[in-house]
Symmetry: C2
Subunit: 464 residues, 2 copies
């Protein structure tokens, strides 16, 4: 299956061959995380945890089930989710008095509790997050990690005294994103969604998009400013010095297993996965190259090499199966291991070990005695060059198309006056989606692709 020819088919095949998930589970769109895929996801989760802990967020865990009565308190929110939630109506042999929703996101689970937790300005900012699974009854075609019905994700929720404090939180979220994306070697763009596409109940939404090789965008996460849209109906307020109850300003931030989908889509190739070193379950595979007369010596040395690399903190696999080297290479390429170290008699004699990089296929040798520092340099170089290459590829897939004539496999930067009428007409006529306007203002000179009036930049694309 060739990535260039049919991205969608290639993607399904890459996921399956690498053993990341099993889609034969008997509920459509709910896949089994098999061991290798789950390990990668857990490494991603660890980085998210580390970032959120370091920025003063507390990890919590809220119940999955939300009473219908709480779920319906914010009107736009329920309208936005009405057609895509799962309902628990019975328990044991009883019909429930109040139906329960499986969380599609946790605003309506958390905010009744926030109303109890926030009393005075001393309780602010309140910053919590959780890493859980969420449920959406998708009607579009499902695809592993990219569009599923049980979604692994993190969500952070914050409460602040003022709108400006909340705005600063969004800036912090963007910084966190940048560090996480760098570890995943993922380029992204930040676009303020159109009013008709923002999160149900939000004041505004910033979408985090990555461009896939077929030119379609994948939304990997989002950041929302809620102002007081939820705090008013849920009664989350603090007492000001004058004794008034002031509703808090809120933000949320979330990214899902689509991060993994994006990594596969951006980096994998026709031979299989290409994993960024920071999230590879095995960063290095050590393969002894036996010949008849040196098996014991090479075997010992390979074991010692793997041991010293593990001791240095790398995640290492020693593949000493009784199988031809070529077929081992093949297996670990499918799995996307960033660095392969081959050790044969000649390497040993020369005091070196042969390496092969998964990202660009280049080969060479490093000193056997200081293999850990050689491996460190190589892995750092792999990370850096994967990110650079991906950024260049993403840039090449974005085209300036001021009049709105967008090539099939490109994201277009168009002119848009900003009015809903022009935006919706553009989307309908071209069968494209306006992703939004740049979160960081961009210089732009041009006219609205619809009405011809003065315009700012907006991005339009087909989505995954």
């Amino acid at each position: 299956m060739r990535k260039e020819e049919d991205f969608n088919e290639w993607y399904i095949d890459a996921v399956e061959k690498a053993g990341l998930s099993d889609k034969r589970y008997p509920v459509k769109g709910m896949n089994v995380w098999t061991a290798y895929g789950w390990k990668i996801m857990r490494l991603i989760d660890e980085f998210i945890r580390r970032e959120l802990d370091a920025t003063g967020h507390d990890e919590v865990c809220f119940p999955l089930l939300i009473p219908e009565t709480e779920f319906k308190k914010e009107k736009d929110h329920i309208k936005g989710f009405d057609s895509e939630v799962y309902w628990v109506t019975h328990a044991g042999l009883n019909e429930l008095d109040v139906r329960l929703v499986l969380r599609p996101t946790s605003e309506t689970a958390m905010y009744p509790m926030f109303a109890l937790w926030v009393r005075s300005h001393q309780d602010l900012p309140l910053k919590v997050y959780q890493i859980v699974n969420t449920f959406r009854y998708e009607t579009k075609q499902t695809r592993a990690f990219m569009r599923v019905r049980e979604i692994h994700f993190f969500e952070s929720h914050t409460c602040h005294e003022t709108e400006e404090d909340a705005q600063r939180q969004i800036e912090e979220d963007v910084e966190i994103l940048d560090r996480i994306a760098a570890r995943l070697c993922l380029p992204y763009s930040l676009l303020k969604r159109t009013d008709w596409d923002k999160f149900p109940g939000a004041h505004y939404t910033v979408g985090i998009d990555t461009v896939m090789p077929n030119g379609r965008t994948l939304q990997i996460g989002s950041v929302h400013h809620y102002r007081t849209n939820f705090s008013v109906p849920y009664g989350i307020s603090y007492e000001s010095e004058g004794g008034e109850h002031v509703p808090v300003h809120q933000t949320t931030y979330g990214m899902s297993e689509r991060l993994l989908g994006a990594v596969i889509g951006v980096h994998a190739d026709d031979a299989g996965l290409v994993l960024p070193p920071d999230i590879a379950p095995f960063q290095i595979v050590v393969i002894p190259i036996f010949s008849k007369d040196n098996a014991a010596r090479v075997g010992e040395a390979a074991k010692a090499l793997a041991g010293s690399l593990s001791a240095a903190g790398f995640r290492v696999k020693l593949d000493d199966r009784d199988v031809r080297p070529g077929s081992k290479f093949f297996d670990w390429e499918i799995k996307g291991v960033p660095l392969r170290l081959e050790l044969g008699g000649r390497d040993l004699d020369g005091g070196v070990v042969t390496f092969a990089r998964r990202d660009d296929g280049s080969k060479g040798t490093i000193g056997l005695a200081d293999a850990p520092s050689g491996a460190r340099l190589l892995l750092d170089s792999i990370s850096a060059s994967m990110l650079e290459k991906a950024k260049a590829a993403q840039a090449s897939r974005i085209a300036d198309a001021p009049g709105g004539e967008v090539p099939d496999d490109r994201v277009a930067r168009i002119g848009w006056c900003g009015c809903e009428e022009c935006g919706r007409r553009f989307e309908e006529e071209r069968d494209l989606k306006i992703l939004g306007t740049p979160f960081r203002p961009e210089r732009f000179e041009g006219a609205c692709a619809v009405c011809g009036k003065p315009a700012n930049a907006a991005y339009a694309a087909r989505t995954m």
Copy 2:
């Protein structure tokens, strides 16, 4: 609230004061894990992960929702769970064709997939686990961590060629248990449950019980041998050398957040939690004791001390709030921090730091220069003595009562001939539960408490 006087009320109070969970969530029996409680649980999870990974189990994550059709394949299983599962009947605006169950445990989610994964003896043993939440519609009174409707737990599932291989897995599970229980300073007993109390569908069940101070037992986990009871209806078989399809033998093993409930019940006291060092979010709290003229010097030294302890790998909290020391002591006692280090001017002059142990209240000093090694010794001693004390307490709550006359606040070792009729009669007449017979055979000389015939030992108790 005194532990001795009213264990149940005291327990609720201890959980609430320490801020482990919030039970005001608007679905009964589903509590919010607040930050401190969730940190402890995640530390427990990490030990479980480490043990299961080290014994060759793969971590996976299966979907939450199980189709009714799969759920009903093993007859005893569905009968056992019929009255306590949650049903999803609607999604979006549609009624589902096949209703979905929220996992009460994952046999029926996993086994259709195991049937696809196991082909030959080379696929065996298959050993997987997951750490997820599970759902039971409890009708009894709920209590934080001990009896809730959304339960955080781990479950491992294994498939083997023979019954003996499966039996060896159970021995391994028991060894894992012993290491985890030691970290949590928890005594336990292993009892083979009666036939009418075993897990629905199991060949046999070994319950893992801990005795609470009120003499009632809390089941913190269980290990099951399924023989081929599930593999036959689910079609999990391997091809023997002769080409026959042989059903696998299966086991499962699970422990839940009751581990945390047991730690609280066994170790906490009237002043609050007493956490085993291995699972304490903060193992050490450093409190500077300021006086007017030494604030800067003491503050600096306390900071340096906390820094050196953190650098040595301890989880440390520096409490330099502008609050009286006595009220800091009080706060951290409620939270159960194992070791308090107080640093004042006189300590500094003497080159020491004053310690106070949370477990027994004893105080003394350690050298400031080698505080990390002093702290290590103290924390190890706290762990060891908490486990010893708890073991002694558990032993004192088990009484030999061959005739079945069981004191209210004790677990009784009785004689039981083993027949169901005697067992059920005993349970009814005494309003007690027969927990089971010792997993490791015990010497016993006595007669059945009901029929007077020759008997083996069995344990009977009231349960939490």
